[in-house]
């Protein structure tokens, strides 16, 4: 997802401006000149400065219409619907894990995430299922028994 530097730069200028604005509300340390707002403001100003530089570079590069740099071929996936689908599906699987793990329990939710990701990467369905279940079980045993992390048990509570 290679975008023109100018777009990133503009976003950074926006972020810097918003940060500076928000930082104005931070109270100072009583009796001192320098409080909670100094550091974020300085950082935000520099960030916006870098953003401006990127905007400038990006616009100039566009005008000159340089041939793409060798490293820029990575941007090709943007036209591939499959790539976008994979990205969205992977993010959705992790988000789904966060939402449903408390209900389903770690084992089921994690097995679903791993199986799903394997399928996205073109694994054979039965291989994906085996890897998904095995990963979930191994991690579950390691983290609950050895490290005593209270992983959510969900509907599998009786076990």
């Amino acid at each position: 997802m290679r975008v023109n530097d100018a777009i990133i730069g503009a976003a950074l200028v926006g972020l810097g401006a918003a940060t500076t604005y928000a930082a104005r509300a931070f109270p100072a340390i009583p009796g001192q000149q320098y409080g909670a707002s100094v550091f974020p403001t300085v950082v935000a100003v520099f960030l916006a400065g870098c953003g401006l530089k990127l905007v400038f570079d990006g616009v100039r590069r566009r005008r000159v219409a340089e041939p793409p740099q060798p490293g820029e071929t990575r941007g090709d996936w943007c036209r591939s619907g499959r790539a976008w689908f994979n990205l969205a599906a992977c993010l959705a699987l992790v988000a789904g894990y966060v939402l449903f793990a408390p209900v389903l329990g770690f084992l089921l939710a994690m097995a679903a995430v791993v199986t799903g990701c394997c399928l996205l990467l073109d694994a054979k369905p039965w291989v994906a299922l085996v890897v998904g279940v095995a990963t979930a079980v191994v991690i579950h045993q390691a983290f609950t028994l050895l490290l005593r992390v209270p992983l959510p048990r969900g509907v599998l509570l009786p076990f």
Partner: protein, 499 residues
Amino acid sequence: MQAIEAAFGLVFQGHVLLVIGLAAAFGLFVGAIPGLTATMAIALLVPVTFFMDPITAVGAMISCSAMAIFAGDIPGTLLRIPGTPASAAYTSEAYAMTRKGEGEIALGANLFFSALGGLFGTAVLIIGAPMLAEVALKFSSFEYFWLALLGLTCAVFIGSGSATKGLVSLFLGLLIATVGLNNPAGVPRFTFGSVDLMGGVDFIPAMIGLFAVSEVLRVMVHGTAGWSAPQAAVGNLFTGWGRMFVKYWPQQLRGNVMGTAIGALPGAGADIAAWVSYATSRKFSKTPEKFGTGHVEGIIESTSANNAALAGAWVPALVFGIPGDSITAVVIGVLYIKGLNPGPTIFINNPQMIYAVFIIFILANVAMIPLGWAAIKAAKQILRVPRNLLMPAILAFCIVGAFATNNAAYGVVLMLGFGVLGFIMEENDIPIAPCILGIVLGPMLEENFVTSMIKSEGSFLAFFERPIAAACGIATLAIWFAPPLIRLVRRARSAPAAA
């Protein structure tokens, strides 16, 4: 003396050695898989070390990182794909040797000189760190402010690529560091009303996201088609070790010194050390024309350098609490969590801990020879692990690791956010390391800045009044302003010539 005995007692326990051995195997595996970096190995290891006592945790991280940096040479030599960025400098050279049928000499050199480089770096760490710690005891907020700033400066300016993009990454990291209550005034900043964010952005989920989840997302998008299994059979690895050591000792020594120095420089680590050393080797070589055709000289110098840098990076990390590279950035985070705040006082209050670190470093580098040998022999199998099954399993590790830091789903959300951020940054050539250094050093920078400003009643001159502070300050400013000044002078000189 008592402290040294205590340190041996701490290290030579069954479970400590077992964990160190397992971490080494893990490091070898992750380092040998292209795309998975040493920093990523550490990021995945950290949630597990959470539940260990400090020595075991630190030992695991040392052995894992040392092995991963070495193992990165294996796919570089066999497939021309560096396993970690630290091997990238000499990948083409090593692969050229493989094509000439000298693969075992290249891998043997990588193994032998990696271990030697690591031991050299360790020796410097053992001698240098305590001496530096005595000086550091006299440091005040002014010196620490400059040191933190110097570290961040090096991270941006010494790395390859665009300085602007390095700065963007750094400032993003510093901005992330301001989130939460943890600031001199103790007011909540950028928490958006979330109780979770009050405590600040949790470092470990952020790390896992930036270094590991971003890589998973990249594979999701770009697919797993990549490398084929290596064809070349690897013969006797120990061929020519004595001859190479005798013939190339100056190169090796120079690589060791350069690597340790670059590693010890705050903010610059193993990958930069390898690039600089490879270039130096070529420049001073009697036969520079052989470079690039499968010549072992440059490999020896740079493979020594990247492992030496690893130990060198611990010098500023232990003495000042300022990370020498992104791996020690994580280590510092873990030390704080364990209540072992790095800094000069740790050498006085916890000497056995420091000695234990030294012992583990020596152990790890000695163990590298047999373990590395095994990894090279198993390379075919390691590289045959299907990535379309490995990446989902890594994602599972990321999720459970991010969860385990606080036993809260908030960690997983944070991890996902940072994964997307890291993915977007890498797609656009914005380096990640400065961001992570910013997150680690941000609080230190701010605290020392505000304390100093209050002490000096708002006078910036006070930052230059103490001698060491002044030296650090001038060095920092020089790195900032030297490149544009040199450019101006050059332009001024060439202008009359052109006219």
